[in-house]
Symmetry: C2
């Protein structure tokens, strides 16, 4: 019937109608075949699939979504990509979503609430099946949008606060307290803190608050603190550590807001011939397995990054599949303290 098998690249994108005409099957049935919906005889099914393949037909999900009111997109909103942590969370999200037919749309806020609001608006206008957003702090309009969106909202990475809907994270305040407690228990007394400037990084702030709070309970406070901006590399850790040691005398412990700068600190101390943890102990945050292999395993706390991404995606997938909101949708994970070899002496 169709005499030429050579199909020139179409100038106009193909539609169901094209496949319908090429196969002699109604649009509706073609649609059914392509979506594996309803009963279709294997004879027509084969005809349709052959035609679709020959033409190189790719369905139009825009039209499909409009008609069916179903969208397989999931909005994922994170503060940054340059901090190692977020790609790991994304990885967890992606690994779960890819088995469900859902696709992540990515938005990056650079820790700015106004950007978050804007990104959220953009994303919600795609009527996604769900939203995964980092943090519990949002502008008023953002909260309003999330609340009235009528789709599952999962706030991740933080558990210190009331979620709008679902939540998966750790308590950073608690993480800070746990680490402080461990440091105090190990007998350290003069502690220096180094971390990012955190006007808008609420998780870092909460960790630090928890940390100082637990120290206070033990009748102590940090002997020195310094905050940096920009990338967190080893060299940043070295510089800050050098500064700290030169500025604040008699420190016996250094607490860093990330493993990467802690690793820099470790290298700096090692080069200075400081005995670790004999003279000075140290700890970071995040549990980056990447960094095992350093002269000493750094004390750290696992932030459950991948697991958080996975759990969040699972909640979205469940709800998108029709499951009702449930208590299981609020997951507070417990960060694990790993004393490594730089804390206990």
């Amino acid at each position: 019937m169709t005499q030429d098998t050579h199909v020139p690249p179409p100038r106009r994108p193909l539609t169901l109608r094209d496949v319908s005409e090429a196969s002699g099957v109604s649009e509706m049935t073609v649609s059914r075949v392509l979506r594996n919906r309803g009963d279709v005889s294997s004879a027509t099914r084969d005809k349709v699939l052959a035609a679709a393949k020959r033409l190189g037909y790719v369905p139009n999900k825009i039209a499909g979504a409009l008609a069916s009111q179903r969208v397989n997109l999931v909005a994922v909103i994170i503060p940054s990509l340059s901090n190692l942590v977020f790609p790991e969370v994304m990885d967890g999200i992606v690994s779960v979503l890819e088995d469900t037919g859902l696709q992540p749309v990515l938005g990056v806020t650079h820790y700015r609430p106004d950007r978050e609001e804007q990104v959220l608006y953009e994303m919600l206008s795609w009527r996604p099946s769900g939203v995964i957003v980092a943090g519990l702090e949002h502008t008023g309009p953002s909260r309003a949008m999330l609340q009235s969106a009528g789709i599952p909202i999962v706030e991740i990475m933080d558990a210190d606060g009331e979620p709008i809907d679902a939540m998966v994270g750790i308590s950073h305040r608690r993480a800070g307290r746990m680490m402080a407690q461990a440091i105090v228990d190990a007998g350290y007394r003069r502690i220096g803190f180094m971390g990012t400037k955190m006007p808008l990084d609420h998780r870092a702030r909460k960790r630090f608050e928890g940390f100082t709070e637990a120290l206070a309970k033990a009748g102590m406070e940090v002997a020195g603190r310094s905050f940096y901006e920009g990338g967190s590399g080893l060299s940043k850790g070295r510089e800050m550590t050098a500064d700290m040691l030169n500025t604040v005398p008699d420190l016996d412990f250094l607490y860093y807001s990330s493993d990467m700068i802690a690793a820099g600190g470790l290298l700096e101390l090692a080069e200075r011939g400081v005995e670790i943890p004999g003279e000075i102990g140290l700890a970071g945050f995040n549990g980056l397995p990447l960094l095992n292999g350093l002269p000493r395993r750094i004390a750290t706390m696992d932030a459950c990054r991948r697991e958080i991404g996975e759990a969040a995606a699972q909640i979205i997938a469940r709800r998108a599949g029709g499951a009702p909101a449930s208590a299981e949708d609020r997951v507070v994970m417990t960060p694990k303290l790993d004393p490594g070899e730089t804390l206990l002496r």
Copy 2:
């Protein structure tokens, strides 16, 4: 007129019609206001904006896209998120897209061509404004889809091959050759190579091919090689280096497929008291600034990751803005060799 300012959360998502009724302005004009298109008197404009805000209206891009045949999504397809390199490229992409109103949809292939094909099909069905895809190697059906999609396609991170449309990357073969040449020139003779298993990582393969090819030209070949699977952390570098040193005698240089495992190697050598580069030199790949701060700056080659992402996104943005395909859309970047402190002696 509208007596209540309290707006209960709607059960049904709001439509233009709702805003139209609430403001007493036709749907068409509401649409114009919300898109900043055409001339609208500032009186009506204000009425409309007030109503939209009060109701919490979020436009429906699905319907908009179907009607206008314009979609602000860009498909981004990468092999993995767990390799540091890809988040960096993503970061470059995102940083450019966010100023253009385009949004990335993310697909991860895990280096599997069949996954790429599937992901591509999914993504193209959203009729995105463009595709950014890692690598030049694709299955037949993938190529066919890309070719007939009628949208800008930017293949990134590799320049050894013919792109379907646009291309931004470096020649990994050349990068391998350059490093080999530098190593030979520095007088090393017994070289060990350590890298990932690369049945499907074409860039790693090409780099290695270029490397051995240039060695061959100098009448040499690698004295030892080993390949690993799984995550690339410092400890992996240490283990592999230990194995290599124990297995292959008299090595005077170690070439690693990534900076992270090279860093592990550096730490292993340092611990063994090996003089670097006096006794053994080493080099990695990627130019991770994260790792500056190690006892020695590792010789490496910058893969221009962020720049590649930025350039790719710029091409998409230009073309989405109506610019025609041009010669500028094929960008071959030159990896910069950084000898650090572990190559020249």
